[in-house]
Assembly symmetry: C2
Homo-oligomer: 490 residues x 2
């Protein structure tokens, strides 16, 4: 192809990096581990944001904004929370630079903060400190708030979108009068995420709960959606946490109940991030470039005119003008690529690389015959079709593409869930086809850690729909009542 | 009123603080100088964002995202830029905390950064360092990029929305092949801002250019829009900078021109921030609370039912249901406040405080008479009107309210521009009615600084529409060719 993309076969990890960069989604910034999200990549993220934001509002949530900085003391009020985040956070210690008198700009030691500030890695602490002032009575509950923000986790090994020092996300933080209501919220938001990832990203997910070992630092229970990438590795695509009264206790947030009793408030938090961009790329794309689901593609249809004379061009322009108007009225985004600096073949390759779901090519002969050439990005199938009814056909095709992309990923995923009943089988599957491995586990943190040390596989989740089934742990032989899903993961 | 809001007369500054807090727009966070933007305030900001984002896209811009952190060395590459920002920036020096062995969480000195990172106060440096990789030829230009982001400027004196350590904004950063095109862009975006603030916030602005003294650190020319608050002080509501080749030179960003010559790229940057929330509050609100222009009000119409029996309530519900459907089809947001925990009088006061443009009150007698009571927030006028045609009437009234709010602010502003021809007059006006003072100035930084020292007034701008007029500087008596606008400012 001459696009400079490594094939998946050759090196999946390099293929991913090549693709993210060549398709203009993102690049590494000059700051270690940080990324620049380029306009084409950001346009996809904006589409994700718009859909999610509407879903949050439709389920009663409002947006708000809390500070970037968290006082160090807050951060350590919830014991397991500080354990989870202290080793990977950016610390602000000074508030001024100065000229050292020799022309060098240095940190001004006279401007040292009394208390260091942490750049938020997540906002539970600052938000629950704020909620203390908002909540007195059951009448003030529930609080259903979401925040779109940047967060920083100082990662040693970074990969574009998948793991970066700074990333963008949304974090919902809700406060409830009862445990039941908080658990219901936790589960509701998990399903909002699951439906979003399946219906928009076209990526099937398994909804489940994390084991103690993989739980969010400070949560009683962490729910997650787990997706499978084309290399057989799992990717956690979103989490929803039931926090119990942990943060309410740490920040002394109480309310007077309907019965007049003073009680601690119940909490949830839930988030998805620009990591979803990585899932989107890895789940569907191929060696020719991105494959974007129409629901999130910034450009759903690209039109490339093929002409020799100005007259030919003009006839095509007139036709495409009408088509564009029709497509826009159907809320379909279309780009007419009539640049005269590039040849059609170059344009075909470029839009293929960028994953535009549908390409329309139209030349002088097509104009005579009343036809156009349609090329689907997902199946690579080209066909010559009539100009009559083209708008409706395109609309239908985009729906088909969205379905087909999901179906293909679902088939792959379903054929990569393997039930095993022994540790030998477990290791064999990990080394051959990978994917999710469904097996019995004795329920202990120790066993999970030992398996991880030996195989790098972790328990991705205990699926919500796991059946009760008597069995024995593949590692210790101890009794178990449910299968869990192991996998190597991003 | 019992709302606990200080009157403007008594203490304008306290009135503003009371209003922002009592109307649930924002509050101070536990972190010095930072704010929490509460859901009601954030909903207004989201409306501003939506309108501006569309205007940016309609003028050809795309969004992208650049890192929060800027290496210290970048920051000091443009000499005047570092001068402007070094004394007020948050500095990240470490990337880890640890337990000191006695249960205290401390900064881990083994995790000291080789080069300190600055939390962006503005992003010219990191963006122009990135653009170097994006630009080779004139074909890569223009780059028209905008970013929605948080920024940090370590302010010693802070006020909610007007001046906070962290604030939210958008910053456009464009790159051009020619000086002319960059200047055109700078001016275009100034007018986008001006039109937005006048048509949506309902705040009239004066479009002008800053003097050298008030220019952005690193700009060749700073354009601005200046608004007037009800206390006669000016507020800079947005700026658009022509940066020349300053940042391209500092970051070595060159392109091959159409003629095959290697040249430095021309730049602009432009931004508005959550400061606009402060302008919105201060321009229109009164001692009873917020007055929101319908174009930005999260709730445009509130309906309060007045009833004694369940039957009365049900009849009202049915009527309001139909009205809400009609209003929603007209894209008018309506809230039906049928809480049974509060009395109508309490609700009236609450929505008045929150600035809802139009209130509909409806009781059992109204239902018999086929009427409702309408109350405008801006004029405080109440009238009883027929239920027939109510949807259309409300739509018309909201437009009237939007116009009236602007008109009132314009009348105030226009009556607070005073031409003076002597320094005595200048000082007298400043002490009595304040507002903008139009006068001659000799064009020097020294004079501007002396006037500022003596009176606290600064040159807000040289209006774009200033006429050529021979005159003498009110301070030095030196010749001048144009009047400028002085004012005390936020």
């Amino acid at each position: 192809m001459g696009k400079g993309i490594t094939s998946r076969e050759e090196d999946y990890s390099q293929w991913y990096n090549d693709l993210v960069i060549k398709a203009d989604l993102a690049e590494y910034a000059a700051v270690r581990g940080c990324m620049v999200i380029k306009p084409y990549g950001y346009a996809i993220w904006e589409r994700m944001q718009a859909v999610l934001d509407k879903k949050f509002k439709d389920t009663g949530h409002s947006n708000a904004y809390f500070p970037l900085f968290i006082p160090k003391s807050f951060f350590s009020k919830e014991a397991s929370h500080v354990e989870g985040f202290a080793t990977e956070c950016a610390v602000v210690t000074h508030y001024r630079l100065k000229n050292d008198g020799h022309g060098n700009i240095i940190v001004d030691e006279d401007a040292k903060l009394e208390e260091e500030l942490i750049v938020r890695p997540t906002s539970e602490t600052i938000i629950w400190n704020t909620y203390r002032g908002w909540i007195e009575s059951y009448r003030d509950l529930p609080i259903l708030v979401n925040q779109w923000a940047n967060v920083v986790r100082w990662e040693m090994r970074t990969r574009l979108f998948l793991r970066t020092t700074e990333f963008l996300w949304q974090e919902g933080h809700t406060a409830h009068a009862t445990q039941e209501e908080a658990i219901e919220e936790t589960e509701k938001m998990l399903h909002v995420y699951g439906d979003f990832v399946e219906n928009y990203l076209g990526v099937p997910v398994i909804r489940g709960r994390k084991t103690e070992n993989e739980r969010f630092a400070g949560a009683i229970d962490t729910y997650c959606i787990e997706a499978l990438m084309q290399d057989g590795k799992a990717l956690q695509a979103g989490t929803s946490h039931f926090l119990g009264q942990n943060f309410a206790k740490a920040f002394d947030v109480k309310f007077t109940s309907r019965e007049g009793k003073l009680e601690h408030v119940w909490a949830t938090s839930w988030g998805v991030s620009t990591r979803l961009m990585g899932a989107l790329v890895m789940a569907h794309s191929d060696d020719q470039g991105l494959v974007l689901p129409p629901m999130l593609a910034p450009i759903q249809v690209v039109v490339v005119p093929i002409f020799k004379t100005a007259e030919e061009k003009q006839a095509i322009d007139t036709f495409i003008d009408a088509l564009s108007t029709e497509l826009k009225s159907k809320n379909i985004s279309v780009k007419y690529d009539d640049r005269d600096t590039q040849r059609p073949g170059f344009k075909f390759a470029e839009w293929e690389l960028k994953g535009v779901p549908l390409r329309v090519a139209i030349g002088a002969r097509d104009m005579q015959n009343g036809t156009v050439e349609l090329a689907r990005r997902d199946t690579q199938i080209k066909e010559t079709v009539e100009q009559a009814g083209l708008g409706d056909r395109i609309e239908r095709l985009l729906n088909e593409i969205q379905e087909n992309i999901f179906k293909k990923a679902l088939d792959y995923r379903d054929s990569h869930i393997t039930e095993v009943n022994s540790y030998d089988e477990f290791k064999a599957v990990l080394e051959t086809k990978a994917g999710f491995i469904s097996c019995h586990w004795d329920g202990t943190v120790e066993t999970e850690k030992l398996v991880k040390e030996e195989t790098k596989a972790t328990i991705r989740c205990i699926p919500l729909d796991a059946k009760e089934e008597a069995g024995i742990c593949i590692f210790t032989g101890k009794p178990s009542t449910k299968r869990v899903l192991f996998a190597k993961a991003y």
